[in-house]
């Protein structure tokens, strides 16, 4: 059972996440209802760099911050993460301890810019669970672009 305290220790106040998402509303207007993005802590989930990505296959129940498109906006909610195989998200972001702390502290600011920077610096890994066409159809292009993620291949 995941408690609110446990969740807030990791991600901070969920209401602040919701305020942040409301501020960035335009970014999500083209996204299909039901589109979902998840955040988990790398340490908690066991998806550790330099070791094995155990969270990929091993079910570990940890809190996941989920963003879900509903009622014309993006809602923040807390769910359980029990490994990648069973998770129901389109995009999963796995944040290390530094990234989680940074996000928690910068919730009042331009969080998407912060997330973009953390991805670029390797503090946040991301995985996609839908292919390009599905993500395009679901209206993800603007959101992915805002995070600096290469929508197409990025052989560089």
């Amino acid at each position: 059972m995941i408690t609110t305290t446990e969740t807030e220790q990791i991600f901070g106040d969920i209401a602040l996440w919701q305020s942040m998402l409301d501020r960035q509303r335009e970014l999500f207007v083209e996204m299909e209802a039901g589109s979902r993005i998840g955040f988990v802590s790398r340490e908690a989930s066991g998806i550790l760099p330099g070791k094995r990505l155990e969270g990929v296959q091993v079910a570990v129940e940890v809190p996941m911050l989920a963003w879900q498109v509903e009622n014309g906006g993006m809602s923040a909610m807390i769910e359980r993460f029990a490994g990648m195989a069973s998770t129901r998200v389109d995009l999963l972001l796995v944040a290390d301890e530094e990234a989680v702390a940074t996000m928690r502290n910068e919730l009042g600011g331009n969080m998407l810019k912060t997330i973009k920077r953390l991805i670029r610096h390797g503090n946040i890994m991301f995985f996609v669970f839908k292919n390009k066409a599905q993500l395009q159809d679901a209206g993800y292009e603007d959101f992915l672009d805002s995070l600096g993620l290469a929508f197409l291949g990025s052989c560089r």
Binding site: L48, R52, L53, R117, V128, K130, N131, A150, S154, C155
Partner: protein, 656 residues
């Protein structure tokens, strides 16, 4: 007889040997990327054969034919029109390719490419050692290979190798570059298996060792090359460290491969491995390490190493044995011949724009910014042939489009004069090159090339000569053809109704260094030009805010380099406001209106306008009754980028 360049680059041009096969020099044509010129079922097309004929003639001692997928289902197929080698029905065309290579005096290798994580393009899934989801949406969701399937994959590789040798190839190559199946097994990022194929480096390397053994048994008399990462650039995400990468190389060496080809990076790696922002020679240390560790095995290397002189030095210093080169030969297939003849100044430079890869990731055939002929070898219309009627051609504008048209037309026997209003050639490219944060020298090398070729071919270039109606009257009937390649300009007229519009600065004036903006700058337009100048200014200490009408900045930048610009924007602290347009300008700053209708004042000292751009096609109307043939090319028809300018200039040059 030794040619002058061969004497200068004596290490590069010395003969070599791989297995029992002698090579005439130490240059290996690398199978750097697939062409996408072939049938959807993997059959080789006439377009491909014409292209391979050019590759065969590059003068390389060893030529690796592009990667073919080895399985009938296409799980290993990574690109839309990739070549297949899983059936004897493909043999005749591979025989033709092997013959082309041998006829040119080179040793022929066939690469077998199972793309693993990046494969399954027609299937909607890919196969991997473990189910590790994708980090790039371009690729397909993964399925885990069973042990029985691993055996099948290995046997398919052995069959493919056997088939390649039957077709007449001398050796084969397997590849982990850049994140394909071999890399997926080797890397702890994608290999999460708990059986004997996963876990320790020893176990992760088992697939590779079994693969090498199977191919060696299938083709015991033929050498095998293995492309392996010296650095994956995936270690921050849990991939292999460099030490592990070299441990895996050691395993390949212990299995008896004849050549290790050292590569760098995965497609999804978060940093550059061979883009224009990477200094040539940057990765040479990886090859040097491999050569030191494996002195008795041939080491090939070429990542971000476009210069034959540097390659020659590397061979002399024991950094590698074979210079593995591909993209510079896409840009100029004559590179090795020109190096041998000491004519390096005549080489069309590879500028690392990665247009080739940008196209592949749009499922298009690859092309090259610098080489308009690439991919059109099969079409007679693209070949430079002697003109039946020699004409007197005037070209207006000495930018890339005009210079390309001029030298191409001159090669065909026309008399060509270029008129340029500035005091040097290069047009606006020269200005933007000076503002480029990646490697200005790459862009300047394009201009240097045109200057050399114009002089060599006898193209007259008249600088400080502005073409207008009066000028045309003065040269009336002196020319049969006029090519307007006068480029594009910033469309300042769009803002003429704004109060104080005289305060606006044309981005071209800033790019050319004719106007120095103040400390705080607002840049109107977040496309390639606006960003390039903004980045340059921000690096020089200006505070820059970019205003873009579209939803995103960098919309006209190639996918392989867009990330670099957006990263610079962040790193340099450039502010961006999208979905907004300029509505007021004053000495105190700029006011923009957002899509929501909100007005926002941005204090600044200078407002620079980089967008919209307008083609300089006014001269068409001026000249249409003054010359027999009138053509337009490059930005003077529609403002675009460097590749469109060069390609259009060439197409005009070969058809007039």
């Amino acid at each position: 007889m030794t040619k002058p360049g061969e004497a200068k680059l004596s290490h590069l041009f010395q003969p070599g040997q791989i297995g029992k096969f002698k090579t005439k020099n130490l240059v290996k044509y690398g199978a750097c990327c697939v062409s996408n010129y072939n049938g959807r079922d993997g059959t080789i097309t006439p377009r491909e054969l014409a292209r391979v004929r050019v590759i065969a003639g590059t003068g390389c001692g060893m030529i690796t034919n592009q990667g073919a997928y080895p399985d009938p289902l296409g799980e290993g197929k990574s690109y839309f029109r990739q070549v297949a080698i899983h059936d004897d029905k493909f043999l005749p065309q591979f025989e033709t390719i092997a013959r082309y290579i041998h006829d040119a005096g080179a040793v022929a290798f066939q690469q077998i490419l199972h793309a693993g994580r990046y494969g399954g393009i027609d299937l909607g899934y890919c196969v991997q050692p473990s189910v590790v989801p994708q980090t790039l949406p371009h690729f397909r969701p993964p399925r885990e290979l069973t042990k029985a399937q691993i055996k099948v994959v290995i046997e398919q590789h052995a069959d493919a190798a056997r088939r390649a040798i039957r077709a007449g190839f001398d050796g084969t190559e397997i590849t982990s570059f850049m994140g394909y199946l071999l890399a997926n097994f080797n890397s702890r990022f994608t290999n999460q298996r708990t059986d004997e194929y996963g876990g320790s480096v020893e176990n992760r390397g088992r697939f590779m060792r079994e693969l090498i053994d199977a191919i060696k048994q299938a083709t015991p008399d033929n050498p095998l090359s293995v492309r392996l990462n010296g650095a994956e650039l995936m270690d921050r995400w849990g991939g292999n460290t460099q030490d592990e990468s070299f441990e895996l190389m050691q395993q390949a060496v212990d299995c008896g491969v004849e050549m290790i080809s050292v590569t760098v990076g995965w497609q999804e790696a978060p940093e550059s491995s061979f883009g224009r922002d990477v200094e040539p020679g940057y990765w040479n240390f990886l090859s040097a390490k491999a050569k030191k560790m494996f002195p008795n095995v041939l080491v090939a290397f070429g990542n971000r190493l476009p210069d034959p002189a540097m390659a020659n030095d590397c061979i002399r210093e024991g950094v590698f044995d074979y210079w593995e080169v591909c993209r510079p030969l896409l840009a100029d297939p004559e590179l090795i011949h020109k190096a041998a003849e000491d004519r390096m100044e005549e080489v069309r430079p590879c500028i690392g724009s990665l247009n080739c890869l940008s196209r592949l990731f749009r499922d298009l055939p690859y092309t090259c910014t610098m080489n308009p002929m690439l991919g059109h070898e099969v079409e007679p219309e693209y070949h430079v042939t002697e003109a039946k009627e020699k004409k007197r051609i005037m070209v207006i504008g000495a930018g890339p489009a005009g210079m390309e048209a001029a030298i191409t037309a001159r090669k065909r026997g026309h008399t060509v004069t270029v008129f340029e209003k500035a005091d040097k050639i290069g047009g606006n490219l020269a200005a933007y090159a000076s503002n480029d944060l990646a490697r200005p020298v790459d862009l300047h090398s394009v201009i240097d090339y045109y200057a050399v070729m114009a002089k060599k071919l006898g193209v007259e270039v008249r600088l400080n000569t502005e073409a207008n109606a009066k000028f045309m009257r003065s040269v009336l009937h002196e020319y049969d053809v006029c090519i307007v390649a006068a480029g594009a300009r910033t469309d300042m007229a769009v803002f003429r109704y704004l109060e104080n519009s005289e305060l606006l600065i044309d981005a071209l004036e800033v790019a050319h260094g004719r106007v120095k903006p103040g400390k705080r700058v607002v840049m109107i337009g977040g496309g390639m030009i606006g960003l390039t100048i903004s980045e340059f200014l921000a690096k020089a200490g200006h505070e820059v805010t970019v205003i873009e009408q579209e939803k995103r900045i960098g919309g006209d930048i190639m996918p392989t380099f867009k990330w670099r610009h957006t990263a610079w924007v962040d790193e340099l602290g450039i502010q961006t406001v999208t979905l907004a347009h300029l509505i007021k300008v004053s000495k105190e700053g700029a006011t923009v209106k957002t899509a929501k209708g909100e007005e926002k004042f941005i204090p600044c000292d200078s407002v620079i306008v980089s967008s919209p751009r307008k083609a300089n096609h006014d001269l068409f109307y001026e000249f249409q009754w003054m010359v027999d043939e009138l053509h337009g090319g490059g930005d003077a028809t529609v403002p675009r980028g460097l590749d469109a300018a060069i390609h259009e200039g060439y197409r005009l040059g070969v058809r007039i």
